[in-house]
Point group: C2
Chain length 475, copies 2
């Protein structure tokens, strides 16, 4: 399948004589999708001069709504391999590749001890960066390097009266959703048990705001969805809810708790009286696709196709479903802020599973398309799409094994593509990388992603779009 389908081709031929040689400059300008890649102009993506189109995409005004979509670990390499597999090398993602304004941003974090740059961020520090505008150390959840809480986009939006949503394919306590709704010194402090051990400053016993889960409940976004129900079995040992499980606390606080697609489909509203808590898995949500694990000799193996993950529950909503419902329930006169995370691109990259990773990029793209379609129809919504950090996977030459692990897939083009994982030994978790990553945007203030920015700039860009207190000077 090509997107968008097109078969038009225009051809012009000029005959040139240069330096004694004569040859034809055949110009078959066919554009993307379905064209003959072997001819002059056959692989181009632009149709005519884009200058006016890019200029029209720039809107210095303000947005009623902002949708921020994070592909965790979705560096340019992860985008490219997924595009190659799903749409072909000359294909386009309907969502990711349809955003009109693009740039690169730096993702580094800070070392907790030295305060110097740490060139390879984790999701906690990078997420804290865009959520709060403040650089911090790996593992920190929206606290600065000194442990001081920093206001998040979701909190700022909520304080201004906007509706808010925070959805993910990971546990809702995982770093990327956590950074919008909680403040702790260590990302592992999911519930009271871990918090007592690792984040005593945050525990309710010590007068703190509680674990990540307790803070998520307290922050009370209109919609919070993902996995992570297992932590809700933990029990508070102090405070107002002493003796109650986190699940019971959610009930006591008026949450509509849903656990599957049917529950999602039945939702009629999401507001401060009846906020939505979607918990679709015990831990992270099972991924969409499955395929062979990378091996030391995968580059020379027969290429294979990915399959649907046989362990994917039919009752589990995908990220596009969650995004569609969230937008439906959040849209209102005052506006909304919604963060959407495709979390397991990262997790499958860690696991050196190419099909798992690619399937999650494709699923994430479908959520991006939902957001972008809404924004275009609405006319008053900004969409930002980026990653929190680069990751291990690289597209390498098929037929040459590497020192690490490789998998060879048969793509949409019918050609072999080898993906390599080489930052950790077999059996260990592959690592994040420190490369700058792509950021793209649509709508008011999206031009602020063009050129080189930092992940902390995104905080101020979104704050400016929504007229939050952290808006850029003069915006």
């Amino acid at each position: 399948m090509k997107f968008p389908p097109t078969s038009a081709a225009r051809t012009a031929v000029a005959v040139l004589a240069v330096g004694g040689l004569t040859f034809s400059a055949g110009f078959a300008y066919a554009g993307y999708g379905g064209s003959d890649l072997t001819v002059n102009g056959g692989a181009t993506r632009n149709h005519g001069d884009q200058s006016a189109k890019v200029k029209r995409a720039i809107d210095k005004g303000h947005a009623k709504n902002v949708i921020l979509l994070i592909g965790d670990g979705m560096g340019d390499s992860e985008i490219t391999s997924a595009r190659n597999y799903r749409f072909g090398a000359d294909g386009r993602f309907p969502g990711i590749d349809a955003l009109p304004l693009t740039g690169q941003y730096t993702t580094f974090s800070l070392d907790e001890e030295t305060k110097l740059p740490d060139y390879v961020t984790d999701s906690a520090a990078s997420g804290s960066g865009w959520a709060t505008g403040t650089k911090t150390y790996n593992g920190a959840i929206s606290v600065d390097v000194n442990g001081k809480s920093q206001a998040t986009l979701l909190e700022l939006a909520k304080a201004k009266g906007l509706k808010t949503g925070n959805i993910t394919t990971s546990e809702i306590q995982d770093a990327t959703p956590a950074v919008e709704a909680s403040h702790v010194s260590d990302r592992s402090c999911y519930g009271p048990v871990e918090t007592a051990a690792k984040c005593p400053e945050a525990s309710i016993e010590n007068g703190g705001p509680g674990s990540i889960t307790e803070q998520i409940l307290n922050t009370r976004a209109d919609i919070t969805m993902g996995g992570g129900s297992k932590t809700f079995a933990q029990t508070a040992t102090a405070g107002k809810y002493q003796g109650l499980t986190l699940a019971a606390q959610a009930d006591a606080q008026g949450y509509q708790v849903i656990t599957d697609s049917a529950g999602l489909d039945k939702l009629k509203k999401a507001n401060q009286t009846k906020p939505v808590l979607g918990l679709f898995a015990s831990g992270n949500l099972p991924v969409q696709w499955a395929g062979p694990a990378a091996t030391p000799t995968g580059a020379t193996a027969e290429p294979v196709r990915c399959t649907t993950n046989p362990d994917l529950p039919k009752t589990q909503p995908d990220l596009a479903d969650m995004t569609t419902t969230s937008i439906d329930l959040l849209k209102n006169k005052k506006g909304f802020f919604l963060q959407v995370e495709g979390a397991s691109i990262d997790k499958q990259d860690h696991a050196a599973n190419a099909c798992g990773q690619i399937g999650e990029v494709v699923a994430f793209d479908q959520a991006v398309k939902v957001a972008l379609d809404f924004a275009k129809a609405d006319g008053n919504t900004s969409v930002f799409v980026t990653a929190d950090h680069g990751h291990t996977s690289q597209i390498v030459e098929t037929g040459t094994n590497t020192p690490g692990l490789t998998t060879t897939l048969l793509t949409h083009d019918g050609a072999p593509m080898t993906i390599a994982y080489g930052t950790a030994p077999a059996g260990s978790s592959q690592e994040h990388t420190g490369t700058q990553v792509r950021i793209a945007g649509y709508g008011p203030k999206a031009a602020n992603v063009v050129g080189l920015t930092d992940q902390t700039d995104l905080h101020f860009t979104i704050a400016s779009a929504l007229r939050l207190p952290d808006a850029l000077p003069g915006s």
Copy 2:
């Protein structure tokens, strides 16, 4: 050194109460360079809303001159590690990071047999892509998958009466410079000897246009500079120059041959009567920086600083020198097209030498700055900066060895940065990767780099800027 230096910091503080918590949203908007990275806004790069600035950067008009600068193998990872080392994680390249319009492009080539996408291009196929607008196979020099010559930007510009230049830090016969000035089936056909063996269709004996070197001389750009003098010792065995070495042919054809900085400095003109042939090394130009080779345990080694390459001849001009002189000699009423390649970013990445690679990115950036400064002063020049493909090097966590090779450097920040090479075993050449890469532009038609394009789009973008026959429809 920070660029640009700034110390201004503005601070605003808002006190917020969200979900029962009270905290300050301190907003110390300090901007890049020299600011305190630990404070809110301290790591941002944008100063205020950039919408108007980005809009002003869009120019749908035409350019008199185009300067295309290629960082060979300069993927986003290579850019980031070099920035971290030379300017710090929150620093900026004076050239590369100063281009106002940015995007990503795909670089894939085609398989010669199947004509299907080859997801990892080489420099020959990728360079042929932007030089001609036609996708081709790895190893091809501006011929299509069927071996048919395709008109190049340099040839089209020259045919239109523009002056032309083609400069590199590699041998002038290497793929990237070769694609603008020659057409052969195999990139290794530097001289008559290799051509007789590998590209018989091109050999003068067979009525072809000759080897890459002979075609470069015949294409007769006003300026051709780089290394590769050793091939000029080969002798023609047929045709008009039978019995003459290529060096003697250059003399017979009226070339001003220069071999060092002194020769470069003395040049007074470069035109069709007296074109310039700069041959500054026997092979590729020695690189600027040296440092330790990557090793299996480099991630846990003591971080080190790079040094100047002790084998760098003092008489060798750097790429910025070559760019400065080229612009001076090419500027004229009718305009010019100049291609500038930083070739050894790729070659040092192949060699798993982090300091060598970073030093070449830094040297390339200085050439970009020369081009951009000229374009800004001139007001009628477009500058495009990109890479031909991604490469192996990745920034990984310091302290964790990988299955491949690593080096740990002490950066401008005074912090350790580990670079990993993991696509080939120790002692073998590290590989290109298939990731989409950054493209950036300044001046007329530069908005065509925004969003997702392909390396073949760049051909039509530059043709449009210069009103060459391959201009985009309606441009």
